[in-house]
Symmetry: C2
Subunit: 538 residues, 2 copies
């Protein structure tokens, strides 16, 4: 393993030491970790973007095969980091080693999934409409189009996923797969993890004989270098996972540029769960166990953490609430990722504690004496009327707490859902007999969320072709996209059209012979044929 | 044909007369046309949007078959308007009857193309990843996703396409096809045409037994009702074709909403043409004729009008320039669509006339005595150095004028292209022998435009599956999209994901049996199979 240097990675060079520096903090002990990390200077940020811009001229033309090999080499290098990566990530995040190992595996799987996607190749949505010089009154041109990369992309690392949504995480994988150079802004909570992974990417770049500007990793503050990156004229898109305030500041900066750019910010979601009475009667214990696990998984620090649970009032839910109280009260204290997150959790749960319309069922302990970022699980209850009367109650409390909201009639659920903001997920527990009510609720949820989960829990996002990890504002800044799954390759591209362009100047994807053997839409029909094998004017 | 009433169409009701009214003006005579058109009040705008929002609950669930029949009925009704539509549109725009007839045909063809698209059904990008309850360490969920509509869409009519980009034009067709209600803001230049087409849509809605809120048509000013619509919380997306200032005001309003929405503004493009020396030598006369036709087509009032032509200096282009001068000088005067457009054209060409670095080859006459909106064709010349030194020279002059820019070496072309703003199109004329230079230029153009045209002209946009009529800012506000062709159906949708949702609650597109017989991606493989016919875990 390379020694950590604390310096930004700017193509194949390293940043300079600087008075503007910081250290990672062990969330368990509060102890500062070495080395010192130096914030990239304005000039260094510009260098990274200029390198990316130049690299784009080569990388956008790089064959899918070579790009796939590069992605696989990144995965291999990350796996090669071994235990030192686990140790550093654990020190920086207090996440358990098994979580770091699993997240590393997911990160590598994601990279390989995108490698497969681009090697198969059909994702570019190639379309050909053949010309007809004899058409009257005007000759019909030969028109072909496919998705092409946008240009250098800025990726912001997430605090809560030091690997899967950080340096070589989902956004980086999808941007690189689609042919865009990436400039990563490291998260201040885990710079050492970032540097290790960054060096692994750099090494893969060297081995793959690709231009250095395809990847840079910069340390520094979001409000400084993050803003500079989003406003840089050579940056053409961005991806962010984090707080609502941070995400909104960046998305507005992206929209206010002289040339606005696509900016995908994933910001906040309370991931409501709707429990129907029959389901609760049939599976009370199972739901209690699943809900407790989902609320407390990863100390509740997931974008898909369920922060609101709607359940029937009275006897129908009394058992569940008792079971949840027991489990939440006996849950061991958690170490949050950063003191900022534990403070925010403390403030969020305090606001619930002080709210006259909210009953505290399990009061979260915040014990700084034994653990620097320690917090306890929290369970709160209110009724639908109070919930609807106070928008503060639908604010995200990031951490292992949830608010139970009791309703008196399932007929209320669609109206409740209609009042919610945009969400990443919404979950329903119901039986077949309750399908009528469920259908009415789904009708509303389809306009409020990116994903509906049935008789399950929203945490644990399956990385696959059909996953949608996105949703209407403010869950994300742009609900037309997902940050997980192969649909994410569509974030950093746009269609480009070639009219009567000679074969020699066409990308392989659009050549007559279909040399990449991909699915294409030819004259409106999907096939893998070479044009010479097709009858004209079918 | 229905009598024109001058009132907005708000679902199945009509707007009220109002002191805020206007009349269409015949651009040929300056004469005001009856009837008086009443601007929709704030309350009426809100009514239209509320109706659209309610209608969305039904329309988003309407079967592709019924939506397709609705689109076809609109086309049939528009065709049924016959000569009175041609007369009114001609009176309002001074466009020749043959153009109106062709544009009507294109409008109806577009509606039918979208009807076919949704009836075939595969455009929704249905994806299924089958679950595996036995997977270790965690059961794999059943995950399915497809594209779903966004909600009520505001569509702004374009001055220059009274039919194909207006009430039932491209944006309306794609929004309706995708399952979104539409609120159209009529253009003040052709309200009578708008009302006729609006009534045709309304009638189709009634016949199809769809909720009235699926379509409304409002009269009034962009800065009033247009802004109100873009800012309305129930409006979920928008489409606009028009000026850069208007488009930018609306796109910024869309981005600054508490809940930002996708907004597709097509704004300005000078559509550069690059002429290589060999091509010019081989096809001088053909290029001269084609260029003259493209610059003057529709009085130059097309988004794809070529406003910049790069050509070799000296003897290589002398013949072409002489031919163009002859043709442009003998071109009969044009009637522009509105006095605003003819004034803007006058100002744009005046700026070129006064520019010391620009030579006027054909001075455009602006003759208001014989025609209210009359203008002449204009031809100007400058050299590359002057062009690169003055950004004013790359501003769009909307109308039948073009600026010839002479270069000394084809090696200059990529650098010139790099300095251009985003464009809808870029055109190259070259021979096979010039392919090296062409490739270098294409490399740059792929980042600067939405479409490249080879040995042709950018005007005359083919409506087909592979067309891209879009491009980087400021050609459009969002280069990820096209306003022409079936890819436009992707403007007004987002992916939605169903995890372990019971069959009965799934849309037909995602049901096991594939009842709509569409292409789907199942476990990563594209096919039309029912799940029961597939081996698991292939």
């Amino acid at each position: 393993m390379s020694e950590l240097s604390g310096k930004s990675i700017i193509g194949f060079r390293r940043g300079e030491p600087n008075v503007d520096s910081f250290r990672a903090v062990n969330p368990l002990s509060g102890e500062e970790l070495t080395p010192e990390y130096y914030a990239a200077s304005e000039a260094e940020v510009d260098q990274a973007v200029q390198l990316a811009s130049r690299a784009f001229e080569v990388y956008r033309q790089t064959s899918p095969k070579l790009k796939a090999a590069f992605l696989r080499k990144i995965a291999e290098n990350i796996e090669g980091l071994g235990e030192p990566l686990v140790t550093r990530a654990t020190d920086e995040t207090a996440l358990p080693p098994v979580r770091i190992r699993n997240e590393t595996a997911r990160t590598c799987n994601q990279l390989r999934l995108f490698a497969e996607l681009i090697e198969e190749g059909s994702w570019v949505d190639a379309r050909i409409d053949r010309g007809d010089p004899m058409r009257q009154p005007l000759a019909k041109p030969d028109v072909r189009s496919m998705l092409r990369p946008l240009g250098p992309v800025v990726v912001f690392c997430a605090s809560n996923f030091p690997l899967a949504f950080s340096v070589a995480g989902g956004d980086t994988a999808s941007a690189l797969a689609a042919g865009n150079p990436v400039v990563v802004k490291a998260h201040r909570a885990h710079p050492g993890t970032a540097e290790l992974v960054g060096l692994a990417v750099s090494d893969a770049l060297r081995t793959s004989d690709l231009p250095e500007g395809v990847f840079s990793l910069l340390f520094g503050r979001g409000e400084d270098i993050g803003m500079q990156l989003v406003r840089h004229p050579q940056i053409k898109a961005g991806g962010f996972t984090g707080s609502r305030s941070g995400g909104q500041a960046l998305m507005h900066a992206a929209a206010a540029r002289p040339e606005p750019i696509p900016f995908y910010a994933e910001m906040s979601s309370v991931n409501p769960i709707f429990l129907f009475p029959d389901a609760l009667r049939e599976r009370e214990e199972q739901i209690a166990i699943g809900l407790h696990a989902s609320v407390t998984l990863g100390a509740g620090q997931f974008c898909t953490n369920p922060g609101l649970v709607f359940l029937p009032t009275g006897a129908d839910s009394a058992g569940l609430i008792e079971r949840l109280k027991e489990m939440m009260a006996s849950t061991a204290a958690f170490t949050m990722l950063t003191s900022r997150i534990s403070t925010a959790y403390h403030e969020g749960t305090e606001a619930l504690l002080r709210n006259g319309a909210v009953e505290t069922l399990v009061q979260p302990d915040v014990d700084r004496s034994s653990c620097y970022c320690g917090v306890g699980a929290g369970l709160f209850r209110t009724c639908v009327d109070s919930f609807l009367a106070d928008t503060n109650l639908s604010a995200e409390v990031f951490g292992p707490a949830t608010l139970l909201v009791t309703y008196s009639d399932v007929e209320q659920l669609p109206d409740i859902a209609r009042k919610l903001e945009g969400q990443l997920t919404a979950t329903i527990h119901a039986t077949d007999a309750e399908q009528d009510g469920v259908n009415k609720l789904i009708d509303v949820i389809e306009n409020k969320a990116g994903r509906i989960v049935f008789n399950g829990f929203p945490t644990g996002v399956e990385v696959c072709h059909s996953m949608v990890h996105g949703g209407p504002f403010p869950a994300t800044s742009d609900g037309r996209s997902t940050s997980v799954g192969t649909r994410a390759a569509l974030r950093f591209v746009r269609p480009f059209c070639y009219q009567d362009v000679p074969a020699i100047a066409l990308p392989d994807e659009l050549k007559d012979g279909n040399p990449l053997n991909i699915w294409r839409m030819v004259d409106g029909e999907l096939n893998k044929a070479a044009l010479s094998d097709m009858t004209f004017g079918c």
